[in-house]
Amino acid sequence: MTTSDQLSPGSREWLLAFADDEHMIGSRHAAWIGLGPFLEEDLAFCSIAQDELGHAIRLYEFITDEVDRFALLREPAEYRSAWLTELPCDHWDQALTRHWLYDQAEQLRWGALSRSSDDGLQALVARAEREEAFHRQHAELFLSRIAAGGEEGRARIRSALEFLLPYAVAIWEPVAGESEALSDGLITTGSDSLAQQWEDSIKTSLEGWDLSTSWPQPISGQDNRHARTPEFPALLASLQEVITIDSAAIW
């Protein structure tokens, strides 16, 4: 397995951004435990949350030997999560729409790692891609039902898209040092190309659901993922609630 001292700064930054995205989206999804629209969906969505947290752990393992402390006890400025993953999404239509937008992007990011020069990463990609196939199926089945349903559901999805798309587009803002990650062979596709593939796939689905919308500019201010959303400190504090009781405890 690659260890942090073998990673170039650019490769580390790329993995860190992906790991933090998985951590934050998993944590935000997990907040729906007990609140899903019906029991079966509650279970399905929380399984997806668990999968994403599992991916985060496996990715953090390439960066640090102390996953728990690293995942939970950094300063906000040291995280590299995209704003899309930090947002609360307190309404189900938003949570579901984000799940779809994010997982379409996640698939492409695993794909970018799939021919990585690192064997350990290739094994992780194979496992993650099996899980992600189900995540995308889940999101698409659910959204397509709402899209084919009544006007209220369609209006809610439209308004969730309007709110989330600028954040989602910004997920492709390249991390500092992406060219280094490419020349290292950690990834084989750059964010420009992934962003285009993602945009094509999102637009195709939205057209199919008759939910096409004007394509937004990415939200500005993420600052290569160095800046956090106003909601981030409260999210981080809630994630730290247990570990800070006794940060030396072994769970």
Partner: protein, 92 residues
């Protein structure tokens, strides 16, 4: 979305038969499969899964079964035969 109810059956690889494990609510067949998977098979409880829309079940009238409730002669557990043989051995 109008919800339907599906009965879920799982089978482990090997000689075990399919067993009923519960029910799921889902809007249609296509969504019922992944939701059943998450509800009943997320810990690898089965290798094969059947779903049956409850509206396709044939449900017997309880009266059809009731006459069989009092037929002890169909419960051949061998005890009467064993008792008889024991009794005969005792007489020898």
């Amino acid at each position: 979305m109008t919800m339907r109810t599906y009965e879920v059956f799982l089978k482990k690889d090997g000689k075990d038969e399919f067993r009923h494990v519960g029910a799921v609510h889902a809007p249609d067949d296509e969504m019922a499969l992944p939701l059943a998977r998450e509800s009943y098979a997320r810990r690898a409880e089965g290798d094969l899964m059947w779903l049956v829309d409850r509206q396709h079940l044939l449900v017997a009238d309880p009266d059809l079964l009731a006459p069989n409730a009092d037929k002890p002669h169909r419960h051949n557990d061998g005890r009467r035969v064993a008792a008889k043989r024991k009794n005969e051995r005792g007489q020898v």
